[in-house]
Amino acid sequence: MAATVAPVRIRTGRAAELWLFLLSLVLGIGAYALVGLNTAEQLPGDFVRFAAVLVGMAVVLHLVVRWRAKYADPLLLPLVMALNGIGLAMIYRIDIGLVARGQEAGFGPRQQLWTLLGVAAACLVIVLLRDHRLLRRYTFTAMVAGIVLLLLPMVPGLGANINGAQLWIRVAGMSFQPAEIAKILLAIFFAGYLVSTRDVLTLAGPKFLGLQLPRLRDLGPLVVAWAGAILVLVVERDLGTSLMFFGLFVAVVYVATERFSWILIGLIMFAVGAGVAIWAFPHVADRFDIWLNALDPDVYNRLYGGSGQIVRGLFGLALGGLLGTGWGEGFPQLVPYANSDFIVASLGEELGLTGLMAILMVYLVLAQRGMRMAIGVRDGFGKLLASGLAFTLAFQCFIVVGGVTRLIPLTGLTMPFMAAGGSSLVANWIIVGLLVRISDSSRRPADDARGLVSTETALEIIGGAEPAGSQPADTAQPDPARDWDEDTAQTEVHRPPASNHQVAHYGEDEAGNGDEPTQVVRDE
């Protein structure tokens, strides 16, 4: 082939990933060692095993990525590994504190097991899911499964009410939070659904106060999502989960339609819903009261629904100050749920504002890498899925940390990758697996089709369309009227218009109502 532009050597980033893994392991294992050294003046009993498992996981992840997602973003996995490792160290540290107070502990080993499961799940996603677009076939399956999972805790006999929230299901003695998995399924559904219907939603409706409103009849899905969120709020009594789903939905609708009015409408609808909830449900109203008057002695001393937990968390943060007490030197175990809902306060106490800032930066970089992948990836479904997942991650952090620092009312959500809790950890590792998969196709140079789906797979994805070879050659250039992003356009420019490159457009997705083309680049 005669390239008119010299091909730039694309870095896969695997070497960088290896170094970053090393750094993240130092953070996690070092923290674990410090906890032991600072509390008992010796390394934790299972230190060698812990270090070996962490190193082993990093090696496996690295090899899996090299094997199946060569071009994956090098930051994603090391960042998550660092967060997970620090989380494990803090959970172990709080175990020590709980034992000293004569309370039930043992969260550390359990969380290590869940970490193994999470990493395994992420590896499975990377290995088995060769192309994220495959998921689009399951748009409506994902919706049904997601809704079923969300409603599972309401099933009598299966659901478990923990601290007033009907969020868990209990199977064989294990409690599980199905909302965490539902989060992924609904992100897939939203992405699949909106990529097909976004043109309809973008159609202009009436103008009001300079805002381009959507047509009234297109509000349908938004109303459904809103109703779902409110339902979760009302039945499962959990403001955080409901807020998270609604945030996810509003974000992807905005990305799909580029209509600011959708965000505004969404926010207004949620505000109305939340307002009604505050009015109707005392426990939601309590949350607001606690938020506004946390330090008020009356609120603090209230037997139920008082601000004791959040204020104790604030005390912890204050003790940490700028530099923190150091691993094992603070008193994070004084806060109820110090290793799950309040792990941020625990980290802020022992690592200080400096450490907390660093951790927040890790999350921010992680989420921003996800957004970068969304910008880079070539298909609309991938864009919506990646941005939905990345935004959910960031938004979840916002809800949790904002609640603990009293920026917003406290709601019960777990801090991704850090908080003790299996369902959340596994679900978030799956999300990272998906982001790695999407980032691989996002960063893959257009020329390099190694490891990309074969024509047959592509056809399978799209379902029943004609083979690519039968397409006329002039469709190789994208329609300028379409909403191609700049990055893709540049890739197109760099690519020599040779006959052995074919860009195929297929008009129909399996639902039969989409008009977003799925682009398959094939190299023979």
Binding site: A256, A318, G348, A367, A374
Partner: protein
């Protein structure tokens, strides 16, 4: 779709900036007030894990932290606990009192003056240890006062008149702070409630707080200062001194002299009135000069001032809006006038120090963990309640009280002692109608070159009975303390 993606990235960034702002607000700007919140047990726990600096008297630690093998790491130990308890207070799990509280920032190493030491610790990785506090207490005087009080309800304070340094501060009965600084909350709770329920209130620091005492005749020193300051009176000025003085505005309420005795022949020199502590002349003269003059003089001696030595001293009070009858009562140290022993020691100290009242203080030096002195007491003048001339006159008259009058029990051979007795009716009646007055004595010595000023109060008890007057029970205690100081 990339434009909204970019905008969404910006939104995410803003969300995280908001989080960082909130974290900064809590951990930096709000941190101090949160750490000081009484509901915050962390502060206490954190300090428990620290090697707290000692409280030192004459080179010996009277309170120090000892490493122990429990969750907290250090146990506070008080040597001579009861002797120094009113000063040190205790450092408990739930509360700290006394100097442990007042000098907490130095003892735990967070004081601003220890900033350099803290910075060094930060860079060397050393533990942030506490500084030490050295007291002005003279252990011999403290011990003498403790032994002289001998478990009776009362208090004694000794000052160095020329500096204001507190040489002794004893409150009796006392308690053992070791019982309250333990790490077993059940034991501490039990000990604390027992002390709280004790009718003798051992937790009160009677020297500077607790229930204040009516000063009785020792208040006449303030009357005398007020009179002499007018310039119209001399020790030999003859004043009216009837056996009975009917209170103005009353039909049949009389002030009588101690024991209902006549005072001379009804007209006596001022010096004699003080010597035998006649009530009627001082009551009449106070009414003559008015409440304002008396209040001014009392305030100049420190009444109404909330001193921090650094323990907080309950202000002594004169009473307010007095009519003439009440003023007459006040002038002999009854009615609403209430004082601390420290306040009465300050009156003597001002007289001893040529009329200059030095600010009383307990802490001589503060040192960092490296034993470098970070703060040294700087004697300062609190006020000048009387002129040097008045002070000299009062000294002579007070020497006369000890030499020839009610205070003879305070006499030390070879040393000129200046003093004044007081016996305050408390209204508390013992069995068979005997009154149980509080006995006072305040003094300084030697009169020509004062080294020590003291005030002693002993609460009236059944044991002392009506015989317990300032001259008989309080003066010997004062003598022991002064002797201990002068012997060095």
């Amino acid at each position: 779709m990339n434009a909204p993606l970019r905008r969404l990235s910006v939104v995410m960034m803003l969300m995280f900036f908001a989080l960082m702002g909130a974290a900064t607000y809590v951990q930096f700007f709000q941190a101090d007030s949160l750490n000081a919140d009484p509901r915050n047990v962390r502060t206490l726990y954190k300090q428990y894990g620290q090697d707290r600096g000692p409280i030192v008297v004459a080179g010996e630690s009277i309170a120090y932290s000892e490493p122990v093998d429990d969750a907290f790491g250090f146990q506070r130990v008080y040597t001579d606990g009861p002797l120094y308890a009113p000063i040190t207070g205790w450092y408990g799990m739930y509360q700290m009192t006394g100097l442990e509280r007042a000098s907490n920032s130095v003892l735990n190493g967070t004081d601003d003056s220890l900033l350099l030491a803290r910075l060094r610790a930060l860079f060397t990785g050393a533990e942030n240890d506490g500084g030490s506090v050295e007291l002005t207490i003279d252990p011999a005087a403290q011990q003498a006062a403790w032994e002289a009080l001998d478990g009776r309800n009362g208090a004694a304070v000794a000052l160095d008149p020329s500096t204001g340094a507190i040489l002794a501060m004893v409150s009796s009965p006392s308690f053992d702070p070791n019982d309250l600084a333990g790490h077993s909350s059940t034991d501490v709770d039990a000990a604390y409630s027992e002390l709280l329920e004790d009718p003798d209130n051992p937790l009160y620091n009677r020297a500077i707080g607790g229930d204040l005492y009516a000063p009785g005749s020792s208040f006449k020193l303030i009357d005398l200062a007020m009179l002499l300051e007018t310039g119209d009176y001399q020790p030999d000025t003859v004043v009216e001194a009837p056996t009975e003085y009917r209170l103005p505005g009353t039909q049949d309420t009389y002030i009588r002299n101690p024991g209902g005795l006549a005072c001379g022949d009804g007209e006596v020199p001022l010096e004699y009135a003080l010597q035998v502590s006649c009530n009627t002349p001082f009551a009449m003269l106070a009414v003559e000069h008015g409440e304002e003059a008396l209040a001014e003089q009392a305030e100049a001696f420190g009444f109404g001032q909330r001193l921090n030595i650094p323990l907080t001293v309950t202000p002594s009070v004169l009473g307010q809006d007095l009519d003439d009858a009440q003023l007459a009562m006040t002038a002999i140290g009854q009615f609403d006038v209430r004082v601390t022993p420290l306040q009465m020691a300050m009156v003597s100290a001002a007289v001893a120090n040529d009329g200059e009242l030095m600010t009383p203080h307990l802490v001589a030096t503060e040192r960092g963990p490296d034993l470098r002195v970070t703060r040294r007491a700087d004697p300062s003048v609190l006020s000048e309640p009387i002129s040097a001339e008045t002070a000299a006159t009062m000294t002579d008259m007070m020497v006369n009280v000890v030499d020839n009058g009610t205070g003879q029990a305070a006499g030390i051979s070879g040393v000129q002692v200046a003093g004044k007795t007081g016996t305050a009716e408390t209204g508390v009646e013992g069995p068979e109608g005997t009154v149980q007055p509080n006995a006072w004595f305040t003094a300084f010595a030697p009169a020509d070159d004062p080294q020590v000023a003291v005030a002693v109060v002993l609460e009236g008890t059944e044991e002392l009975g009506a015989a317990g007057t300032g001259g008989t029970v309080a003066a010997p205690v004062a003598r022991e303390i002064m002797q201990a100081v002068l012997d060095q």
